[in-house]
Symmetry: C2
Subunit: 474 residues, 2 copies
């Protein structure tokens, strides 16, 4: 399989799943003819190309075959061996590659996506907002943004942060980036040369590990625990290895869900200042708390510019817009501006204006409240279904994931292979580990799949895992 | 002036110009009070923050002063010396910096912007399109794009290129990037290590020069002439310096407007294959022809993957969306995907869907036809006004710029200083020259400024230049 499997996003997946469900439920039997591409596109209210893509992948996966010029027919389960080969091939590859490979495998139960279920986002309301933006800024599509980002947006975010955290801030201290990924990437380019040492939590955000590795960084890790870090260990590493920076995600940490307590935050800033180690605080999940608001961001304890704060709004406000902001000292900002002007010369203005108006609306606050409740319910469903196992995890107070310890005999590689066969994906612990171990840990996201599928899928997953245990447990 | 001058885009500029015109025409006199921010925002139908920004810059430029808590008053021309100092400071800096510094200086006659006048773009129609996209894809804001880019869009572009140029192409051969800037940047990162040699035209696109310089490239130049290149020179440099790649803009070249003839294109591909030099063909102006369509892109002569083709649609279709596509061999695409997954993990899906639907519409074709006519008229106005001088240029058959040779005694640095004082900006030749010379050449864009301002501005510019000539000409 030399072509990477393309995932069109939820539309494509819906078509794929639609066909698979009919086949699995025997509504469509072996050799039955599938609806024509045109017909199904009309029925499902999607583009013909979306249906065609789903059909092609079904064929590739051996679920359907083609006869005549344009007819698709249901394939029998006789082809399961080929599926197995195909999927094994993908699984074998994903051990070496990015999380994105796992996410692209079309399964029914996406526990690998730390994304919000599109159905939980106020899509209809977005639509109205976008129309409003065009009324306010009729020439927005004809205009470029500055490299630093739309000033109106930066002013609005500045007011927000000042109100939330009572910090001193000015719109000039902010940079708008196309998502937190771009922010991390620009920072890695601005600060890291090959063999520079950086400190990472273990485990950590897989894309950040990839980014810093690609810059040639030497990654040293400190463990993150449910109650934060061992600050003596942090200090000792800063002293010994003199890392250029420490990349951290201290609030509803990805993948663990842990939150670093307030008393540690202040101390961390002091250590960072003392040992001249920049702190890059990635705070993507800040608003996704279940009971109480989390402690203030680490940057609010910073007085001299040691902390670079990345706040992404992609996950739960509008993934499709890709808007994040970086708050930092002016010298850092200058480097970042330089990098960004080369990288793309500024994020699209349209996206910034849409985000600006949505972000400052009352509706968004209401949306966030509902989202928190919905996510908490999903977390609880997942935990209920997992209670049947002897697996261990710390129940998070916010965020999108459970970080689960399986018994030592498990290999998450094999578990992934078997799971994908059962249309389930998750993230093996190694992908979150800078040291590439943690192979009996897994990350399960409860945020993407609806409640019914969540229950079904976790049960199915527990069964799959059960069959991989020593004989007496299957 | 430690803060970079921020340009909010055309809205901010309109407010700034509005006030300046009133002052210049003596409608508002010294010590007159300006309208309140709120009032002017209502009158001009812009955001208060936009007016506030314009007012702050007027104050910074010494055009107005502040009294009481929130009143702005007209400043007298007594402050002109300070303006001069401020502007000289900016001008001195721009010699060393990017084109973006020049573009950010708020002037009335922007001959430095190789952008389309927003008033020439079908803004109202865009608005309808965006609403339509939300109806077709209700969850578009809740969904991420793949790294390679929306498949529907790639399929649509593939059909377009196949129809236009009869090439073999597949949607898998395309990558969607956030503008051509990002494409060039990703390519520089994928292919260039410090001290690698690259071939450039002289002059060339200033941002590309900056990008490759930032990667540490050693830039060797070949001259571009109205009739193309000296292919013997090209061959001799490829043989001698073994450049990794040749970055070129062979159709309505920026800044010269020259177009490389068809017979040279085929030969160029042969040379590139022979000497194993990748060709990066940046084709941003392809559709902006005045009389005849230009020769087919160089990539259409390529059979083995020597050419990497960048087609940006930003300039004249929708700058605010920032959409470009790269067509290349699968091994190159693989590298680019890897780079892009780190850089931003995929361009925003919303922008791609909006572009997809607009691009495939009849309206866009009609728009392009009108745009060509409008730009040709503007080119002719500029040329008419310049006929009064003894300056030399080759009239381009398309594109957005005139590339003009001034008599040798001119220093474009000093000319820029004086011009900015007269509210005129342009691009000094050095910024387009990898060798940093060409100081008696200038680039004037006719695309951004309306016809009336074009005439006024060019006349004024000719006067300014006239006063810098030897005494007998002033």
């Amino acid at each position: 399989m030399s072509k990477a499997i393309q995932n069109e996003g939820y539309l494509f997946k819906q078509v794929y799943d639609y066909v698979m469900h009919r086949i699995e439920r025997k509504e469509w039997n072996e050799h039955d003819k599938l609806p024509s591409v045109r017909q199904l596109a009309a029925d499902m209210n999607v583009h013909r190309l979306t249906v065609l893509k789903a059909y092609k992948l079904l064929k590739q996966d051996g679920k359907v075959y083609v006869k005549d010029k344009s007819g698709y027919y249901v394939q029998t389960s006789m082809k399961e061996n080929n599926d197995f080969e195909n999927i094994q091939y993908v699984s074998a590859n994903v051990q070496k590659k990015h999380l994105s490979d796992i996410n692209q495998v079309p399964v029914s139960y996406h526990f690998s996506q730390a994304l919000i279920d599109p159905n939980l986002l106020p899509n209809h309301y977005f639509s109205d907002y976008v129309k409003k933006v065009f009324d306010l800024y009729p020439k927005v599509l004809a205009t470029y943004s500055t490299v630093q980002g739309d000033e109106e947006l930066r002013e609005s975010l500045t007011h927000y942060f000042i109100n939330q955290y009572k910090t001193h801030l000015h719109a000039d201290d902010l940079l708008i980036t196309s998502g937190s990924q771009q922010a991390i990437h620009l920072l890695s380019q601005a600060f890291i040369k090959p063999r520079d040492t950086v400190l990472f939590e273990r485990p950590s955000y897989s894309a950040a590990i990839d980014i810093f590795r690609a810059q040639g960084a030497n990654i040293i890790t400190v463990d993150i625990h449910p109650d934060g870090y061992d600050l003596e260990q942090v200090e000792s590493y800063m002293k010994r290895y003199k890392p250029r920076l420490f990349y951290l995600n201290p609030t509803f940490h990805n993948p663990t869900g842990y939150t670093v307590p307030a008393d540690q935050r202040k101390k961390l800033v002091e250590l960072a200042e003392q040992y001249r180690c920049l702190l890059i605080e990635d705070d993507a999940y800040h608003d996704i708390y279940f009971k109480e608001t989390p402690p203030p961001p680490i940057y609010t304890y910073d007085t001299v510019g040691t902390v670079i704060y990345i706040r992404s709004f992609c996950k739960y406000i509008s993934p499709g817009l890709r808007i994040a902001t970086v708050i930092c000292h002016s010298s850092v900002l200058k480097s970042l501006l330089s990098m960004k002007s080369l990288a793309d010369n500024g994020s699209p203005l349209l996206n910034q204006k849409i985000f600006l108006h949505y972000f400052s609306s009352l509706r968004m606050q209401q949306h966030l409240e509902k989202l928190r409740i919905a996510l908490q319910i999903r977390k609880e469903i997942m935990e209920e279904e997992l209670a049947a196992t002897n697996w261990q995890w710390t129940s998070p107070h916010g965020g999108l994931n459970l970080w689960i310890k399986l018994p030592d005999h498990f290999s998450s590689e094999l578990l992934l292979t078997k799971s994908i066969q059962q249309s389930i994906s998750f993230v093996p612990g190694q992908l979150c580990d800078p040291l590439n171990q943690l192979s009996s840990w897994i990350r399960l996201s409860y945020s993407y799949v609806n409640e019914k599928q969540l229950r079904e899928g976790v049960r199915r997953f527990v069964d799959v895992a059960g069959c991989l245990s020593p004989p007496e447990s299957c």
